[in-house]
Subunit: 459 residues, 2 copies
């Protein structure tokens, strides 16, 4: 029966591309209030698209942009294994516009790729699941599970409205698995299950010294320079081996198991190649761990930005009145954003001299997420990838974060399966964003196999 | 005979104010090329002013703005003790204009002050010497010395053209003393001889890491963050006692003698008052030295500005490709700007990890200057102040720098006497710059006494 589904998919690639072109044509830029109407128009288009396929779809308001909900089942509650597919219809701004070969919202096929803003992040990626469901429905093939699509419009702005909505509506969304295609695969012949992502906490620190900038000649020698104090505080965070010296910082970190180490050792990009890609003279980081372990399975303390004093042309001999930095920490299981933030705050506050005042501003936080790759769910996902791509799939850990994932698994009481179809050169958030058409097609296959395999794994 | 001179000065204050008003009316803003013509017009006005008083005055071209030279003597070479008076006719831009109570270039008398850009820095201050010389000439009083006025037009832009001109013309300017009124006096009843200024060296440091900004999730843990490296480097400069750890940094520093310590102890602003002025929670700096010693007689390493990564609204989770800082060190006798710069460069380069590249950019440097307060010259200056103000003058050390002073004393083979008539609230470089009219008058008296006293001290 799956053959019919696959045949439908094969027969309709041109139609799907045309539809995706229409979907991509909406500049659903969530970060810019000027585009609020287009964001809504995009959501409405998606609701109608779902309805045309026969799903019951509704636009849900949030205190941010609306959420699109669509169900394959008519009853009030799912009766079979219930899968939630998460995605987002909002996109990043297309700037710089002049770097695009073809206009970002007039999606174009070139060299086997679909170019346009949102093709990879994330319209094109969740579209594979919509098309696989369509194939089941249009070929009258029995769909062995009940599926709910939850496509939000605020992923690029922090999902705050969506997160509140999710909390309120969690009960109606309890499910057996969450499927998310918002990650990458290493190469066209290397399908992958991302079984782990890091969490994140970001915050700002401000060091306040004298009430105004001072003349560094007249007062240099009697006033602690807030930049110097900030440097000393931030310099104290890592020891010589690259380990973070903040007490309790590692308390909740689960050690990397031998099995994890073995999986990670397979997934590495060769060091020499990676060094070239990054343009670094040598690698940095924590001693005692491999590159792949440090990149995916160890927490970090990163200064994303620093400012203070005069940085224009020439010189201005001042002692600035203040200096600040933006910090983010990547977290691994079982670290908690607030616990880590408090540990950092306490450490730096204890260290600061009495000559200055420290101010902290919490930004946002998300917990790390890891799916046990030995579960039936993970195995089902790997099998689906294997069948779709006809290649041995990889298990990968992602160093980055998808903030909503951990919260969603908690609220929906289900594990998340992250399968990405974007290639590393998909230019996500950059000009000429693209989606490989073969990955787009095999993504649909993967999805088609998932609806067969997941229900068995859920039992 | 000096009575005649003083009487002339007293009788002509209104005329002097009117002349200074004319002098101040030129927006001789040297830093802005748009004002080049007005800078020249101002210099030409000054040449004519000198000529009308009977001095031989010439405009000298430099590769920057012109220098005004004026001599009281007709012969090719001075025959009596030769004094050079240094000043500058260029001014700072008047911005922000809306903060001025009266227009900056329409000098106005209010509350016993002369308001206008350049009234204190420096037109009004060197004008006292011109007027004192005028008083001698107009009253046919014998001037016991030969005087050369050297009034440059680039002080506010670093004196580069002037410095070259000075080098070329040094031989014709050899003298017995240099008189400079470009500093301050603590209060109207506290005339002061500034016998020491600190030197300065400034430079920039750049830390280069990966070739572009990197995603802090995907690559966090394997790449050394240039901001972190920069913080570690700059944090290593001072030890816990506030002492600079750079090898050889203090090698040329002359210890503060017991006599110096005694002079400095008299000149201090009470700590409590100073703390309030600066708005600091506590004082910082090097242990083992008093506030006044640290502020005037010890070298510093000051971070004037720092930058790196993202500092806009919200967060951007990147590892930046580079970070930089602007540094300036205040220097004390006998430190040398280049030697100090090289020591800093060597120290930081040795410390930097192999993961980054360091770049240094030398800015500008000037040596410190100190006049021995026990010399006859210094005593003559103090006596002149005592007679003019009828108050016990103070000996003060200035923490700031006047870059050209040290070079000028070297080239002209003479000591410099720095007597300032601007009060601490003269708003130099700020809106509503002003000169106290009583200080202006007593400055003229001081100058009149100097021409009597300095020749004896030079013998």
């Amino acid at each position: 029966m799956i053959e019919k589904v696959i045949a439908y998919l094969d027969a309709n690639q041109e139609k799907f591309v045309a539809e995706l072109q229409e979907y991509v044509s909406f500049p659903s830029i969530s970060t810019d209030p000027a585009y609020a109407q287009q964001v809504r128009a995009c959501a409405e288009w998606l609701v109608n698209h779902f309805r045309r396929l026969g799903l019951s779809s509704v636009l849900h308001e949030t205190h941010g942009h609306p959420v699109v909900l669509a169900r394959t089942f008519k009853s009030e509650k799912p009766k079979r294994p219930h899968i939630v597919v998460y995605g987002h219809y909002d996109v990043q701004p297309p700037d710089p516009l002049d770097k695009w070969v073809t206009p970002p919202f007039q999606a174009t096929i070139r060299d086997g790729h679909f170019y346009g803003r949102g093709t990879a992040d994330n319209k094109g990626q969740h579209f594979v699941h919509i098309k696989a469901v369509e194939a089941y429905l249009k070929t009258d093939t029995d769909l062995p599970c009940d599926i709910t699509f939850v496509i939000e419009g605020e992923e690029e702005t922090g999902s705050t409205g969506f997160a509140s909505w999710l909390k309120e509506n969690a009960a109606s969304l309890h499910c057996d698995a969450i499927v998310i295609s918002d990650t990458s695969m290493p190469a066209p012949d290397k399908p992958a299950l991302t079984y782990s992502i890091r969490g994140l906490v970001n915050f700002e620190i401000l060091v306040e010294g004298p009430s105004t900038d001072l003349h560094s000649g007249v007062y240099g020698g009697i006033v602690d320079n807030p930049i110097t104090v900030l440097c000393k505080l931030l310099a104290a965070v890592h020891d010589k081996s690259g380990r973070i010296r903040i007490p309790t910082f590692y308390n909740d970190v689960k050690p990397i198991t031998a099995k994890q180490k073995s999986i990670l050792s397979k997934g590495s990009i060769p060091a020499k190649q990676l060094k070239k890609i990054l343009g670094v003279r040598a690698f940095g980081g924590e001693k005692g761990f491999t590159l792949e372990e440090r990149r995916t399975s160890r927490p970090t303390f990163e200064i994303n930005g620093i400012w203070g004093g005069y940085i224009g042309q020439g010189s201005k001999t001042i002692i600035p009145s203040k200096a600040g930095a933006k910090i983010s920490c990547r977290l691994v299981p079982n670290q908690d954003p607030h616990r880590v933030y408090n540990a950092v705050k306490k450490f730096l506050t204890t260290l600061a001299p009495e000559t200055v005042a420290l101010r902290f501003q919490y930004g946002a936080g998300s917990k790390p997420y890891m799916l046990n790759p030995d579960t039936e769910l993970a195995k089902a996902a790997l099998t689906a990838l294997q069948r779709a791509f006809n290649k041995q799939p990889m298990l990968i850990k992602e160093g980055g974060s998808i903030p909503i994932v951990s919260e969603m698994t908690r609220l929906l009481k289900a594990d998340a399966i992250m399968i990405g179809f974007a290639l590393p050169d998909a230019q996500i958030h950059a000009p000429n964003e693209r989606l490989d058409l073969e990955c787009f097609r095999k993504g649909q296959y993967t999805s088609a196999f998932l609806w067969q395999l997941l229900p068995q794994a859920c039992k």
